[in-house]
Amino acid sequence: MSELNNRVVEKYRNNFLKEVEANVEEGDWVKMCMQCGVCAGSCPLGDAWEHTPQKLFMMIRAGKRDEVLSSDAMWMCTSCYNCIVRCPRELPITHIMHGLAHYAARLGLSPKNQPTQKFAQLFWDNLTKTGRVNELKLGLNLYFMNGFSEGVKKSLEMRSIGQGMFFAKRLNPMEILGGHGVKDQAGFHAMLDKAREIEDAKLDKFGK
């Protein structure tokens, strides 16, 4: 567990609900859940999750900090927005899911080798380099995510699709050399740096 995590635990002691309210995006909605279970019943991937949103919210109220933050549930959300649309209490459930996932990742508590999380990181790293997604590199990084031999196997498997995209001019092999980007790359990176600075400042309240 990270140093930051220890500081947060120290601050909130055992009031996990308050911690979520203060630090998770849209977290102050969690207390408004009335446990009707419509979100759980509406989720198309509900069976594939460790916990439904209803359960997650209940666990937050019951102070089950470690179980919530190490759950894979919020990583499995596909943002279909069914739950948001149906929630009678109008909780932004999808956003809370992403908020919880992000918070867990920041604290270093998210489950190890969670594929969604891995892909999200690859995507972010790829995107922030030039300000544009390099699809060729992103695809290759994804195939080789779990090692070299598996990457080769996956690449061969996907060869015909790659070729098709190449002939349809949807995939430029020259992108391997760096690829295209936004015009003002320096400005773009300055923006990201500033955002990171703001985000870090938020965490300063827990002390350094």
Partner: protein, 738 residues
């Protein structure tokens, strides 16, 4: 017949009646069989011209009794509204042409049906008189309100505002009842976010300044006698001083008692830190906005658990099976007391189903969530006194796990028990059985049937929660507030207004001799022939409304004001001495006999349907509107209630050759729909004994059927009729056709 009865029969040929029926033939039947003095036809009887035609005959003194052969008695009531004339309406449209196919084969039987209805109408009206109001009652614009809580105070204020004088009796030394014990109450106006003042002082001030309201504190009602319009009530103080006052109507708002939490042994009720909701109100009053301190060591409460449905909504022995309706919102309100004093107080409401009825309930719930009250779906199995405070064992129903947790204070949301006095229907204690507690009567009614209002279910006094709220089974006495059904303050105040309105209606109606609900406006009342009475007491026992007392010699003593005009006494009387001016054993019996009975070999059976006018008869009308056909052999007679059916009608009908008899009444039993509460049930009991009559006559049991129907049974009633026709075909014609 002492008075000359001039019968006029008016046949309408509109609405297709003229095309489908031979109206000249109907006139002939009315003249010859019905002995009508004059008969007329009109092509549009309910039109201005048609009505004027009838009115002209009435004005000229040519007719005193009229029979209208047109549509159902339920249709065109505005047009056919004649004064000072006895009227009956035979149902040729909904009762005949609309339920029969328009074919050549059906024409004969359809016409026979219509002929018979005309005969029946003429026979009925011959045995009817114009009802005149009972001289028993007078106008008394004083109202008695028993119970000075929120409900009683509201009733008193509302009645006073409407111009009626009120006597308000309260057994305690101050007004306010249970509400006065509350620190604050659940808000009843937007934004429904925080508890508000309990409101008792403002109502009490209004009452003290109101010249129309007389308050009797430290007093109880020691005797109530009479009837609507002339109740005589003894009001006694604790010291024994009694004043007797007269009232026109009574509102009983005697409130509730909290469930005795000491019965919930699993929750350690003896522990000082386990309290019920009223216990917490006392703590909150003491704190008066500051930190609420727990009773055991006066430590400011840092964590509190509210246990919902404690001893209620449960089938366990000694628990209440019903929901008391207010407790969820009350716990939410009480959790807010803690959050208001200190937002960091850990407040948990543990529920299985959170119910916050009323317009603002959901907003109030949400407001508590915003303030940080935690709502946990769980079931508490045990509370034990721990070292630092009550230790609570519960099952979290969402996370499906058993949890133990310490709290500083536990509040049990227990239920409401109606304060409804003596249960007059309770079986008498057996010989030698020890009577542990005798409930104190609220009204001390001087009625033969018992001291208090009959109870509907779980001790609550009402006659039907949905269909007839406030109406008890004692005319002119209305219940309001939690004595009627579990409710919160807002509902009790609405209830109080409704009951006051009902009481005002009763006062005004009884001054004119008019019946109260459900035959409101009816002038007729039961009277009996004393010479014939055998003092059997059946009428006094069976009257669902306790309208009949007995005199010293055991003769029935009618209190017409208490009567709802259902005729259950008439149905009960074995010697048939009870009758109404326009409804009697004869007025129906003669209709039964008036039907032209074809002989056995004509293969034309005759079926009799005695249909309750409240549900069964309207349902038959609706079947007709939907063009649902049924057998042409049936002859339907509306009755006020199945309870008014005297078994002599069945015997007479069987003797005069009817092949099948159907009694169509309302649902009886626990979820009854009978407008007169017990009528249908009593009829079923009586009819269960009809088998003797049938076996004496050597007739098949299947010839008589008693059915429970609802107003929605538009398809089912025709089915019942047709099945009876088939049954008769199977078992053969009655041998009693002479």
């Amino acid at each position: 017949m002492a008075v000359q009865k001039d019968i006029g029969a008016y046949i309408c040929s509109g609405c297709g009646l003229g095309d489908r029926l031979d109206c000249d033939q109907l006139e002939k039947v009315a003249k010859s069989d019905g002995r009508a003095k004059l008969t007329r036809q009109h092509e549009f009887l309910c039109s201005k011209a048609g009505v004027e035609m009838i009115q002209a005959d009435i004005d000229a003194g040519d007719v005193s009794h009229i029979v209208l052969g047109a549509c159902s008695r339920r249709a065109k009531t505005d047009a056919f509204n004649f004064e000072n004339v006895v009227m009956t309406r035979t149902n040729l449209r909904e009762g005949v042409i609309w339920v029969r196919p328009d074919t050549d084969e059906a024409r004969e039987s359809t016409q026979e049906m219509a002929d018979d209805y005309i005969r029946m109408g003429c026979a009925e009206v011959k045995y009817q008189d114009l009802p005149a109001p009972s001289q028993e009652q007078g106008l008394n614009r004083n109202m008695l309100v028993v119970g000075g809580g929120i409900t009683g105070m509201t009733s008193a204020i509302e009645a006073a505002k409407a111009g009626y004088n009120v006597g308000l009796v309260e057994k305690a030394g101050h007004l306010g009842g249970t509400a006065a014990a509350l620190y604050k109450r659940v808000p009843e106006r937007a934004p429904y976010s925080l508890p508000v003042d309990n409101g008792v002082d403002s109502l009490a001030t209004q009452i003290q300044g109101n010249p129309r309201i007389t308050v009797y504190l430290n007093s109880t009602v020691t005797k109530t006698s009479g009837a609507p319009g002339r109740f005589s009530v003894d009001i006694s103080t604790e010291s024994g001083d009694t004043t007797t006052e007269n009232f026109g109507a009574i509102v009983q708002s005697s409130g509730f008692e909290p469930y005795d939490m000491s019965q919930l042994t699993e929750f350690s009720p003896e522990s000082p830190d386990v309290v019920d909701q009223l216990g917490l109100e006392a703590l909150a009053k003491e704190a008066n906005g500051g930190a609420i301190k727990r009773p055991s060591d006066a430590k400011a409460v840092e964590s509190v658990l509210f246990v919902q449905c404690a001893g209620q909504r449960s089938e366990k022995e000694g628990h209440l099976s019903y929901c008391s309706g207010h407790c969820c919102a009350t716990s939410i309100k009480q959790a807010m007391y803690f959050k208001q004093a200190n937002p960091d107080t850990d407040t948990v409401v543990m529920y299985t189903d959170l119910r916050t009825p009323g317009a603002g309930g959901e907003d109030f719930y949400r407001s508590a969530q915003k303030q940080g009250v935690i709502f946990t779906k769980g079931e508490v199995s045990e509370v034990t006194p721990g070292d630092t405070g009550p230790l609570v064992k519960f099952n979290d129903l969402i996370l499906d796990e058993n949890v133990e947790q310490n709290f500083d204070l536990v509040v049990l949301a227990t239920g409401m028990l109606p304060n409804s006095g003596v249960n007059i229907d309770a079986p008498a204690p057996a010989e030698g059985e020890e009577v542990t507690e005798t409930p104190v009567s609220i009204l001390n009614l001087d009625y033969r049937q018992g001291k208090d209002i009959p109870q509907l279910v779980h001790g609550f006094t009402d006659s039907h929660f949905i269909c007839f709220p406030y109406e008890t089974r004692r005319t002119g006495i209305y219940t309001a507030g939690p004595v009627r059904r579990p409710m919160d303050i807002k509902q009790a105040m609405d209830d109080a207004t409704g009951a006051a309105m009902k009481a005002i209606q009763a006062i005004e109606n009884s001054s004119k001799g008019l019946a109260a609900h459900p035959r409101s406006g009816d002038l007729s009342f039961p009277s009996f022939r004393k010479e014939g009475c055998t003092q059997c007491k059946r009428c006094t026992v069976e009257c669902p409304f306790g309208a009949i007392n007995e005199d010293e010699r055991g003769f029935p003593q009618y209190n017409e004001g208490r009567c709802r005009r259902c005729g259950t006494c008439m149905g009960a009387c074995p010697v048939r001495v009870i009758s109404f001016a326009n409804y009697s054993v004869d007025s129906v019996g003669q209709q039964i006999k008036a039907v032209d009975m074809p002989d056995e070999f004509e293969e034309k059976p005759r079926l009799l349907a005695l249909a309750c006018e409240n549900d069964a008869y309207p349902a038959m009308d609706m079947a007709a509107m939907n063009k649902v056909e049924y057998s042409a052999y049936v002859r339907a007679i509306p009755v006020r209630c199945l309870g008014s059916v005297n078994t002599i009608w069945i015997t007479d009908a069987l003797n005069s050759g009817y092949d099948g008899i159907m009694l169509l009444g309302c649902q009886k039993g626990e979820n009854y729909q009978c407008h007169f509460v017990k009528g249908s049930e009593i009829a079923h009991i009586r009819m269960s004994k009809i088998d003797d009559t049938l076996s004496q006559l050597q007739l098949e049991k299947e010839r008589v059927g008693t059915h429970e129907v609802a107003i929605t049974d538009v398809e089912r009633i025709p089915q019942i009729i047709n099945e009876m026709a088939e049954t008769v075909q199977k078992i053969g014609m009655s041998p009693f056709k002479f």
